[in-house]
Amino acid sequence: MATVPGVATPEEYVGDTLAREQTSLWADAWRRLKRNRLALGSAVFLVLVLLVAIISVFWTPYPIWRQGVAPTYQTPNAQFPLGADQAGRDILSRLMVGAQVSLEVGVGTQIIVAAVGVTIGLIAGYFRGWLDRIISTLINIFYGIPDLLVALILVLILGRGLDKIIFAIAVTRWMDMARLVRGQTFSLREREFVEAARASGTRPNKILSRHILPNALGPIIVQATFAVPQAILFEAFLSFRGLGVQPPTPSWGAMAADGFHAIRIAPHIVLVPAIALSLTLMAFNFLGDGLRDALDPRQKR
């Protein structure tokens, strides 16, 4: 390399030096997320909740429905780490299954919401015109209807199954996602790379799936992460009002309701599910914050 004639044309440099070496933007986001302790801790906590929920499918310390495995109102001890409720059922076992219910509701509703909201949002944002006007009107109408009322009515009509509750919550909660995706699509559609795709003859379905959706995925994930705890809370509230999952399937909301009348003599019956619920909700919110920071391109130097 050291021997170079007096005049050299360094042609070989044109395209051979990369400005910076990095893997995909997703790897970059992951790198940033890892630096956020709170978000990372939350993620670990949620993975634990998930593990507990999975274990509870196969095994719980005691059958969740069997009454009198412990004395009623048993306070936590070695044999019953979280105590027992008014019917003498093991609270730990019920809490484990409750985690399963909460995650199913939270994630389940968001899968439906994402499927519906993303599709509707993409269509409204990309095609605009009358299609967008109809969809936007629909979104506003749904915002106008009190969600609690609609969910209650739906549960009354459809029955109290977990799937029905998921459906009822999704019906009242798809609009945020649709509106977000519509807005994202609106602005991404104006970006030059979408224009370039159109100019080179890319069909609309491919523009949506290859160009717009992947670039809107960050905000979609963040939105879904924030919406999961809302759905969990919604279910807890329905269960608390006795409109949640069918007993004896425990839900954190129902468990809290069960202990409510005995709050003075056995506060742990309310406190245990309430704390589990709060921690889970908090974890999802911290994770959502972390994801937003990690996925936000404006943070990029």
Partner: protein, 333 residues
């Protein structure tokens, strides 16, 4: 004549996750009272960071890590924060590329000029008002009295830059630093702003440091030019020398690479191949050598410092264009 500003071996570095970016790496120059000095270079060459360093406006993770910035003898680098604040806007004013983001959108333009004055001098509202109107007139804003009451969004891009200049001149500073003041403007407006700066320099004797990537802009306004590349000054001298007799291959190549409006023939442009170097790990030897078409063996190894290459003209090059073109001619013959 004693210089109003002396920058000595200035080093400003950015401590990023990827490493230390040596954005300004040993820059020295003098600015004399009333002088117009141009600093030219491409994005990332350190010209803007040099300007920000002078006013200690470099933001985290950037830091001035060495050198001196002597304003009338006192070192800005070591100055107390309060004194630097007093310096900014009073002795040294700065205007930026995007005047809209420098102006507060909810305050009237006139009020912002008055405020700029009252921040540094105790004057009555009445005096401030008449002086502000006078300043708007000085920067050739038509109907200054009525435009005084306007909000920034009611001004066009060119008018906003004029208002920023008025604000910059409010306290009769010794130095006005203009960082790419015309880059966001249309050419016809750019020409008028440059003309204004030239006139104001003559009227007020305020020294101007013009930072730009546009060689044509420098040619029209500045008496002396610094050419920066990869955090260093590679050449400096009087504007005529730099444009007619450039000695550093980078300066020479840059001038050859821009299409000229007055070019008679459509020659192929000379292109500088490759990219500016990564300032975390700059190349050994001369920083320009990977892109230089006149490099010799020594350029790979040894880092050249500025040497005298003509009247008041210095270049940091082992070859210099005088020799490069001579040997090129020999080779051709």
């Amino acid at each position: 004549m004693t210089p109003v500003l002396q920058v000595k071996d200035l080093r400003t570095q950015f401590f990023t996750d990827d490493g230390v970016v040596k954005a300004v790496d040993g820059v020295s120059f003098d600015l004399h009272p009333g002088e117009t000095l141009g600093i030219v270079g491409e994005s990332g060459c350190g010209k803007s960071v040099t300007a920000l360093s002078i006013l200690r406006l470099v933001q985290e993770p950037g830091r001035i890590t060495g050198g001196q910035i002597l304003f009338k003898g006192s070192d800005v680098v070591k100055m107390h924060d309060d004194d630097v604040r007093e310096l900014r806007g009073k002795d040294i004013a700065m205007i930026f590329q995007d005047p809209l983001s420098s102006l507060n959108p909810v305050l009237k333009v006139g009020y912002q000029i008055e405020e700029a004055m009252q921040a540094h001098t105790k004057i009555s509202g009445k005096v401030a008002l008449s002086r502000a109107v006078q300043l708007l007139k000085q920067v050739r804003i038509p109907a200054a009295e009525s435009r005084f009451e306007d909000y920034p969004h009611q001004f066009s891009g060119g008018m906003r830059q004029r208002a920023m200049i008025a604000m910059g001149l409010a306290n009769k500073p010794s130095i006005l630093i203009a960082d790419e003041p015309t880059t966001a403007l249309d050419v016809t407006v750019q020409a008028q702003i440059l003309e204004l700066l030239r006139d104001l320099n003559e009227e007020t004797k305020t020294a101007i440091i013009l930072i730009t990537h546009n060689m044509g802009v420098v040619a029209g306004l500045c008496k002396r030019v610094l050419v920066m590349y990869a955090g260093r000054i590679v050449e400096q001298g009087p504007v005529e020398q730099i444009f007619h007799n450039p000695q550093h291959p980078y300066t020479w190549s840059l001038l050859q690479s821009i299409p000229r409006l007055d070019a008679d023939r459509k020659d192929r442009l000379l292109s500088i191949e490759g990219l500016p170097p990564d300032l975390i790990k700059p190349p050994p030897g001369c920083r320009f050598h990977p892109r230089c078409r006149f490099r010799i063996e020594r350029c790979f190894r040894d880092d050249p410092s500025l040497i005298d290459v003509g009247p008041d003209q210095d270049a940091a090059c082992w070859v210099t264009m005088r020799r490069a073109l001579a040997s090129d001619g020999e080779a051709r013959a």
